[in-house]
């Protein structure tokens, strides 16, 4: 690392790019994210709530659409009912989703539960991510140790073959 080199009279651009500039940047980002994630999003209208709930319920008579997307009568019915439940003001979104599910059975369940075998669909992506990071780490470590090796006969053969192929071409 060459951060220890003598500080020559640097132009403004260079000075700005030293660590202080980055620290200021980081500070601004953290403050902005804090403000953005803590301040209230404003009151949700009943309609916004309805849309949110409907996106989590599968339309019972359609093929792969949510109640939010579908224009089928069954989906309309469920939307009307959700709307009436929302306007009563005493139910949470999760309660309303659970209510619809108890009546229609699992076929309106659009989001797999995080229990039982269904949890696999949530766990596997995390597992795949961990594997990917581990694989990358191992690969880079290996490459780093391999970088110093002397080329073997086999390596030379590959290079010769490639060069021969190139000569064919030109």
């Amino acid at each position: 690392m060459s951060t220890a080199t003598a500080p020559a009279p640097a132009p403004l651009n260079r000075k700005l790019k030293r660590w202080p500039g980055w620290v200021v940047l980081l500070g601004v980002v953290i403050v902005a994210l804090l403000i953005g994630s803590t301040r209230s999003t404003g009151p949700l209208t009943d309609e916004d709530r309805l849309d949110g709930i409907a996106q989590h319920i599968a339309c019972p008579e359609c093929e792969g659409e949510s109640v939010y997307e579908s224009q089928s009568p069954a989906a309309q019915n469920i939307r009307i009912q959700i709307k009436s439940l929302i306007s009563q003001g005493t139910f949470s979104d999760d309660q309303i989703i659970a209510y619809v599910e108890t009546n229609f059975g699992t076929k309106t369940q659009l989001v797999p539960k995080a229990t039982g075998f269904d949890a696999v669909v949530w766990a596997l992506p995390v597992f795949a991510g961990v594997c990917a990071i581990a694989g990358l780490t191992v690969a880079f470590r290996r490459w780093r140790s391999a970088a110093d090796t002397v080329p073997t006969e086999a390596d030379r053969a590959i290079v010769d073959a490639a060069l021969a192929e190139q000569d064919d071409e030109h």
């Binding site: 069954a74 009912q81 140790s145 391999a146 110093d148």
Partner: protein, 212 residues
């Protein structure tokens, strides 16, 4: 990430390709196994047909239903205990429903003839956004009560996906059968008598049945 050249023993360097040769077959094997397993699942997969008459309500107490009838009377399913109740979900724009209608007229007449032991038939106006179905019942007067399903309350409580749909509720207020399709008078009578026989044959609640 140090820039200092690292000293590596030649042996370690020569070892690297050998190691990678040992890893590669394992990766190929794992990939092959995963694909093979996936393939087996795909071969066994059957075309998805989720139109079943299954309902989580069967064998359970019927949901509480309060509604107004078309001629302005209050209806409460709880108060119908003691007699068999048949609920028919109906929409006038649905072809099979209209087809089924005369059969229901016959069925209602049959049950009325049985007197006190006959089942009570109720029609539920389903998804009637433009009022057409209510009009249908105003022009085609029926001898049984027609329920107005405000806010799709009854439809969602019973989990109705597609009309015509018919539900049978026993005198104890338990759901015993759901039928998804248009019925004839004979079929409905037969289903009802099966349910009545099972109910009479011992089990207090009847055996859960579902018919498609």
């Amino acid at each position: 990430m140090s820039d200092a050249p690292t000293l590596v023993e030649p042996a370690a360097g020569g070892d690297a390709p050998a190691r990678s040769r040992r890893v590669a077959p394992i990766i190929v094997l794992v990939v092959t196994l995963v694909i093979a397993g996936f393939f087996v699942i795909l071969v066994r997969a059957k075309p998805d047909s989720s139109d079943t008459a299954y309902s989580p309500l069967i064998g359970k107490p019927a949901p509480a239903v309060q509604a107004m009838t078309l001629d302005g009377k209050a209806f409460d399913l709880q108060h119908r205990k003691g007699s068999w109740v048949v609920l028919n979900f109906f929409n006038a724009t649905c072809g099979p429903c209209v087809q089924e209608h005369p059969e229901l007229v016959k069925f209602a007449a049959d049950q009325k003839a049985l007197g006190g032991s006959g089942a009570e038939l109720y029609s539920v106006v389903w998804n009637d956004l433009d009022g057409g179905t209510a009009d249908f019942f105003r022009t085609n007067k029926v001898s049984w009560p027609v329920l107005i399903d405000k806010d799709a309350n009854i439809a969602v409580k019973f989990g109705v996906a597609k009309v015509p749909e018919t539900w049978i509720i026993d005198p104890n207020g338990y759901v015993v059968r759901r039928v998804i399709s248009n019925l004839t008078d004979d079929e409905l009578t037969r289903y009802l008598s099966i349910d009545q026989a099972i109910s009479a044959g011992g089990a207090a609640n009847g055996t859960p049945t579902a018919t498609s």
